[in-house]
């Protein structure tokens, strides 16, 4: 016969509770604070059904100009595809190869209205039909370090070594996703995701990084809102 303690071990194990509490506290301490803002502009109704897919693609055309990080594009694509309600997301490199040369940096359409002319290309239209592309999401923006201060000095001696000092820096992530509907060649809407945060690194013998996950926060907010926007779940609810 099982005892209460074995049935509900977590409730009666103070050591385990202490460990969980310490881990949670450490996780909270080890991440800096991030504030985020999300804005959505809907221009038309959306909806996605089985067999239709989405493409997340970054803008990259001008020499030397900053473009959206590949890491961010992949983060949004992965988040959209994750879970039971996840969408079918076409990997951008695979898409560029399948539709070459229409979506290369120099040849990709700038405006949603150019989609109609593109869809008139028989071979391209057949390829887009084959991959089931419904929404094309252009992501623009990036994460920038806006300021940094402080210093850390490290030294090693015969008796050991250590680092002392304090570093702090601010990151600002600003991204905008523009959603094109390939069915009617129109812009369906825009979602912007901004996040800002301050990271700290105090060092008393050992440096302890307290990182504000600014880009990750912007990615999660954007992909969550995109999922809701494309599925039109905000209108349905």
């Amino acid at each position: 016969m099982k005892t209460m303690a074995s049935l509900y071990p977590m409730s009666f194990n103070p050591r385990l509770l202490l460990r969980i509490g310490a881990t949670t506290l450490a996780a909270m301490l080890l991440s800096g604070c991030v504030s985020s803002t999300l804005q959505e502009v809907r221009e038309r109704e959306t909806g996605i059904v089985a067999g239709q897919s989405v493409l997340i693609i970054g803008k990259s055309s001008r020499p030397s100009a900053a473009e959206t990080e590949l890491e961010f594009i992949n983060c949004v694509a992965d988040d959209l595809a994750r879970g039971a309600k996840g969408l079918t997301v076409i990997p951008v490199e695979q898409f560029r190869d399948l539709t070459f040369p229409w979506f290369e940096p120099r040849t990709a359409p700038d405006k949603a209205s150019q989609l109609i002319a593109l869809l008139a290309q028989p071979k391209l239209a057949a390829q887009l039909e084959a991959v089931g592309l419904r929404y094309l999401v252009w992501v623009d923006g990036r994460t920038n370090r806006t300021s940094s201060a402080g210093s850390i000095g490290c030294s090693v001696g015969p008796g050991g070594g250590g680092c002392f000092g304090f570093l702090t820096w601010d990151d600002d992530a600003s991204y905008e996703a523009t959603i094109w509907d390939t069915e009617d060649g129109q812009t369906a809407g825009r979602i912007s995701s901004d996040a800002a945060g301050t990271s700290y690194m105090p060092a008393f013998v050992v440096p302890i990084p307290l990182i504000a996950r600014v880009q990750s926060n912007a990615c999660k907010s954007l992909s969550k809102q995109l999922l809701s926007f494309l599925a039109n779940s905000d209108a349905a609810s």
């Binding site: 020499p63 473009e67 590949l70 890491e71 190869d97 040369p101 120099r106 290309q121």
Partner: protein, 234 residues
Amino acid sequence: MKLSQRPDSSNQELARLRNKGWHSRLLLLLAVLLASGCGTVQVQLQSDFPVPLVEPLPVSVGVLVPDELLGFTHSEEIPGLGDYAIGLGQVPADLLQRLGTGVFRQHQLQQAVTADDAVDGYLLTNIEEVQLALPKQTRSDYYEVWIRFRFEFLDQTGASVSPWVLSSYGKANEGDYRGAEGALQAAALLACRDAMAFFSLNLASHPSAQQWLANMAPAQAAADTAEASKGNGQ
């Protein structure tokens, strides 16, 4: 005196000197590396280009791949940043093979014009210039590569009809790659793709190519060319 016959203190001194020598050599190596920037970066391109998804022009073309194009290597010394070399290897042949498959109804890769070729004309490709820029030079996050291709349109006899100089561009974020080699390779391949993309979408409407196509295309083929030009127009 042989080393093995030295007293213990001498052996310790020898070991100390050896250690000092090792440290000196390491310092010298570091100094040489620092003085020469980051040393030599050599990139050998490898590719797998897609076939352009366009309406093919109704012509049969001999695509000439000269030896100097296959063995093309761009070497450049950037003051303070080291030596950089980009070898194209088989990439031009691969690029032209895929380009020919997508853009022309029929094509064949060949090294030179021969009398018994059953083609309507020839396309001769060369690289006029390659330029690269490093993040430290542009104070950006990008490795950048520019390639200036020279496409020469030749008639059935191999005589030049018109040239088309096409500049292409590729860039790669250094944060997406582990080192300069990977980023430069990606930037150079993107420049090749850029040239392929622009060439395949604009060939039929480019004045140099129109002159070449008009010379070799009979009436029906000319109509087909105009149709393909309309279809591939940006």
